[in-house]
Amino acid sequence: MEAFLYTALGVLVATSYMCLYRIGSGPTAPDRTVAIDILGTSLVGFCALLCLLTGRDFYMNVAMAWALLSFIGTIALAKHLEGMGFDE
């Protein structure tokens, strides 16, 4: 079970590196925004797997807070891409 969980975490780290590649080399700003959004969503899964690995359920709180703040950050970045101010 533990070996499986470590493998799963390794796979998620690999996906995070793919997102980081897109953040680094994205031709335009929206590409980078997409990659940031996807990175946030996949790290929620990472936190959830850590919860199973360590047996402490507070990692679930971390995952939920991460999901919330990632959503708000993505909305803010998308508004900035649209050319709108923060409070319109």
Binding site: C19, T28, P30, V34, I38, T41, S42, C51, F71
Partner: protein, 113 residues
Amino acid sequence: MNEYIGVAIVIVGLAFDVFGCVGLVRLPDIYTRLQAATKCVTLGTCMILIGIAILTGLNATGVKALVCMAFVLITSPTAAHAIARGAYKFGVKLEEPTVVDRYAETQTDEGRS
């Protein structure tokens, strides 16, 4: 028995995560990248959370995983939609073999009026 089902669901979720991120790297255009990545990573994360809920059973962790899954399922398409709209307004054009673009008409209309 529950253990095997949970592990299988987590493995399928991980596979979808990998497909989504490969799509993020390989596809040519921001909109197609957004489609592949959003669909696959949303479903992959949801399946990982479901698998954890099955593995831990009905206690605080499992129920919290289900709440988290509902939240991801609601907000992730919304974020994708916001990015797509923002990218169109930002001026990113569609990839070359484009068949039809009905959204461009509204943009010019708005610009005129």
